[in-house]
Symmetry: C2
Subunit: 634 residues, 2 copies
């Protein structure tokens, strides 16, 4: 680094003090009592009669091991798709009758690596050592040192190399992003109870008009005023009617305080699939800075950005091929073309230090990890730590050790290190353990996953695209007019090809339905909520048998659900297997076509009655509960 770069780095301003945003409970927290005694723990050779620890000799596990994928298991897609790319040609072959062949010719689970976490590690560097004596003992709330140091370096050097404040961001591990959000709410918001606390004390939470419903379940019991902001294909809008500036500038104080907190998903939005551009981020950030709003950015799908979506959408619709635009034009590069091709996080424009970013291993490794991290300023990270210490303490050492060992590999033994008592017993299999994915392998793994999900997205979209229209044959006026009468083409639904994430957001054109606004048996006109419920039920019938998530579930307020939430469905193209994506997509469009041919009020109302009457008996059996468990997630 030359001296001018050095001085440029030195010139970064520190993050601003954000403590005026902290909740009453956060402000009342004192440092852990135990912390005062830490200094004594560091005395070499000290006999530990102080801490209440079990002896690691008594852990029943002598090793943890795993068969692990090579990073190259899955096939990436191009960062910059062109007209002649494999993807485009693959897409062209996609048709209803013959989906493209699956890419993987041989068993992808052949030749996995064998990962071993030993009971007692041999290296001397705690930031590289992974063993059960440390990983299964009480540990730091910030995370297992080896894993934390990997994540911290990856975040600072590769993922967010443009953070504009002095010293850069800190990292704290979480038990997944729901945990990260729960801690963020505890950190930044006070509980407000109607009839007990004055309205003037009620705090707010800004989010998009459609949002991840679990965050509502977190925010509403705390009495937060959830304030919806309008969105477009990218995500949240900064300006315009209902946009962020409009909401904040015209805030009605009689409803409570102007919100000081925002929750937003910006890369593959849940449920709407948009990816927020760098330009839009700058606009939103400027408004947040002006009105002093903390931004909680929750991006489980950050690495699932699909550059082919815009291109393939245009081709499928016969529109002009759009020009390719770089998503990230900031100065510092990650060292990896894949990472550099993705839009950057709000962290990279966070001059004030008001961004709290939630990350998770749920979508890159597995949801069952319950492992993620928060990236933010040191001041805010320290407060998150205090919450962790008195809550879930730390993510499980089982997953931290296995993920660390998978990514980092075994620390090299010093040439003349004495082998531990048990090291000599280890099998040759264990000694041959592979040496970790490292950053290269980790990035390659992510690029491979992006490839798999991007191809699924394209398969689903092409099937939906081909079946968006219903052809109707009008009855010939006279026999001689034509053999088939006049054919009219009605578009049943519309959607954007997802620019990121795991979801397709489909707007059903219920206003085209024959029974739209027709009086029902009780005399009231049949509305969108009735139609969306009836269609959802019909889709669960044979032969359609597909389950979709209604837009009602993601509507930020009941008003939004009533006004337009009923028009949408969220389709997940991630959960099912490749083969089933095609089958489910076909069954879905067949069900929709069937639904738009319903002309009798009775048939529709039978479906609605079924929705109300469907027994919850199954829910009361433990078997039923066990089966349902796997579908909770999001």
């Amino acid at each position: 680094m030359d001296s001018s770069m050095e001085s440029a780095k030195m010139a970064k301003p520190p993050p601003k003090d954000m403590s005026h945003h902290f909740s009453d409970v956060t402000l009342a927290r004192l440092p852990s009592k135990m912390k005062e005694y830490y200094k004594y723990f560091l005395i070499p050779g000290i006999g530990q009669l102080a801490g209440g620890l079990p002896n690691p000799q008594f852990f029943p596990y002598d090793t943890l091991e795993a068969q692990t994928a090579k990073p190259e298991r899955w096939t990436p897609t191009p960062n910059r798709p062109g007209a002649d790319s494999l993807l485009a040609s693959q897409l062209a072959s996609t048709s209803l009758s013959s989906p493209p062949p699956l890419k993987k010719s041989s068993d992808p689970r052949a030749a996995p690596e064998h990962v071993v976490v030993p009971h007692d590690g041999e290296g001397s560097d705690p930031l590289k050592k992974v063993d059960l004596t440390t990983a299964l003992q009480y540990g730091l709330a910030a995370g297992y040192p080896a894993l934390l140091s990997f994540v911290r370096q990856f975040v600072r050097e590769n993922l967010h190399p443009n953070v504009p404040y002095e010293g850069g961001p800190e990292v704290v591990m979480t038990v997944g992003s729901t945990d990260g959000m729960s801690k963020s709410l505890e950190l930044f918001t006070n509980i407000w109870v109607e009839g007990k606390n004055p309205v003037s004390e009620r705090q707010g939470l800004l989010s998009e008009v459609f949002m991840y419903a679990n965050v509502l379940s977190q925010a509403l019991p705390r009495g937060l005023n959830v304030a919806p902001v309008e969105m477009d294909g990218e995500g949240m809008m900064a300006q315009g009617p209902g946009g962020l500036e409009d909401v904040l500038a015209n805030w009605d104080e009689s409803k409570g305080k102007r919100p000081h907190l925002m929750y937003t998903v910006t890369m593959g939005h849940n449920p709407t699939s948009g990816v927020l551009s760098l330009q839009r981020r700058k606009e939103i950030y400027a408004v947040c800075s002006k009105y002093d709003v903390i931004i909680i950015e929750d991006d489980p799908y950050w690495y699932l950005q699909y550059p082919s979506a815009e291109l393939n959408e245009a081709k499928a619709r016969g529109l002009p091929i759009p020009e390719f635009k770089e998503a990230n034009t900031l100065g510092n590069k990650s060292g990896y073309p894949f990472l550099d091709s993705l839009v950057p996080s709000f962290l990279n424009v966070d001059t004030d230090g008001r961004v709290v970013r939630l990350d998770t291993f749920s979508k890159t490794v597995a949801p069952g990890c319950r492992l993620g991290w928060i990236t933010t300023t040191p001041e805010i990270a320290e407060k998150i730590l205090r919450i962790s210490e008195t809550g879930n303490q730390q993510p499980s050492g089982f997953v931290q050790a296995l993920v660390a060992q998978t990514i980092m590999g075994t620390q090299q033994t010093e040439g003349n290190a004495t082998m531990s008592r048990f090291a000599a017993l280890r099998s040759s299999r264990e000694k041959a353990a592979f040496n970790g994915w490292k950053v290269d392998g980790w990035v390659r793994w992510l690029a491979g996953l992006r490839g798999e999900y991007e191809r699924r997205m394209n398969r689903m979209c092409s099937i939906l695209e081909e079946n968006a229209y219903q052809l109707k044959q009008s009855t010939p006026v006279r026999k001689s007019d034509a053999d088939w009468g006049v054919i009219t083409k009605t578009q049943l639904y519309e959607f954007d090809w997802p620019r990121g994430g795991m979801f397709l957001w489909m707007r059903m054109r219920f206003e085209q339905h024959p029974l739209w606004q027709v009086p029902g048996s009780k005399g009231l006109p049949i509305n969108g909520t009735a139609l969306t419920t009836a269609l959802m039920i019909l889709l669960t019938h044979k032969p359609f048998l597909v389950l979709v998530s209604p837009g009602l579930m993601f509507s930020t307020t009941p008003q939004i659900a009533d006004e337009r939430g009923w028009a949408y469905y969220r389709l997940c193209f991630a959960a099912e297997s490749d083969e089933n994506i095609d089958k489910c997509s076909h069954r879905l469009v067949q069900g929709i076509h069937r639904f738009f041919r319903i002309k009798k009020v009775k048939e529709l109302e039978d479906l609605l009655n079924e929705a109300n009457a469907m027994s919850e008996e199954d829910l009361n059996t433990r078997d039923g509960l066990a089966n349902m468990g796997t579908y909770m997630g999001c």
Copy 2:
């Protein structure tokens, strides 16, 4: 079961409604929105486009595996020790110069079992199936079905077979007991802010005069009034001055509401080591029932009850050998002599349904599990679930799967089941995987651990016992009086041999110290707080080099710390190895003896200055942090 037993079971009253104890936030919680859609998930063959799940094919782990101890690895101690027992004879040989030989003649880690969690399980029963497709996917907040069903059955049939309310208790998994306590506080308490909320709304938390400090760190930032209750050797006192009834009957409402919540450790109390008898439990429960108090019972050390302690203490002190008393005289038996020999939980006298019991795998498997459970009424368990769903969701699937597989083994394959695609690839090693500890093995493992810790307890106590007195030689008045003058014997400390847990609670007789109440350099008399701090520092010096936890840390209020907390140290006999227990105990008593020979105020004040001046520089290095991590726990 005969019909009279049947009708006796039927006659149990249901638990009482406890919803008036719930917090504002708990009362504001609605069932998860997702739950309304669960019924559709159960439709056979349904295509899943609804839930936001990644595809399990993309989890990088093809198996999780572990080398695991056999349940017989450690040697139990008798449930009913006699005068001629191995333990007593072993104790007799304990002396300063030659500790008894370690029990384990061969390497205990030889011949471990190999546990394998496959990617796709073959059985059909979700309550027995353990595989990565389910364990690493999103799951139920109550816990992984296989593990939950094991724990639930163990709790209801073996651990607490006498729960007196209809239907028995429910179980919800937690991320360890700190998480369990955090959720309990959220469930039962409102946040109170001084100067913002009226004092009349301030809620309280009852606990012993000495308590686990981390719970203070959880309760105080919520504004709870922590109310200390007097204790004796067993634990909390029900009656008498400062006892529970006294505190509640004479509650001063001007300090806030009379507490409706109690936190108590009852089996190997932290820090005082007592075990609460069944009789005392009944007395405390009656008071709680009278004043409508919820009991949170936190017992990480429940299986570490030491029947030899009373016996060996009496023998070491030349007192009459006490008569052996059964700890559990309730009607229903567990099926295991070891379990039946332990005092029963408050759950077994909980006629009202006001007990919330916290359990953890931290001390039976490893703290790094971050895995535990709550046992309570279905009504309260359901509210805990709602908190989990919007918080950490579930314990990590990595640890749930490995613990489940270790205990439960592999589900038997049906004779004619079709093997899954990847099952055929599995190695013979995997097929030979052992078939689980089962309940028998689990109980045997716990009994073995109890044996190990009980022997350590006895080793430490016998060393402390032999060195509790300082011999002082008075100067002979005349040469001819005697060769050695008059010898006086001063007792430097006192303690009970721990009846349970991991700690020894030692009262230092600082009032015997030569500098007790002597004026210091600033003219103020040297008090207990100064002496306890100075001794703690001296003990960290060579050649003593032991770290103890001062009683100041565990004093429930600052007033208790001032009045008597300074007199105590908590010694943990669990963390160090067998050999080090002896060495550390010897170094400890040598340090104490040295300390009581300090006669110069200057020497004492140098130690105090060191306590204040000791640099925290090490704390600012990441290496330092990494090293400290392992000592956080309790």
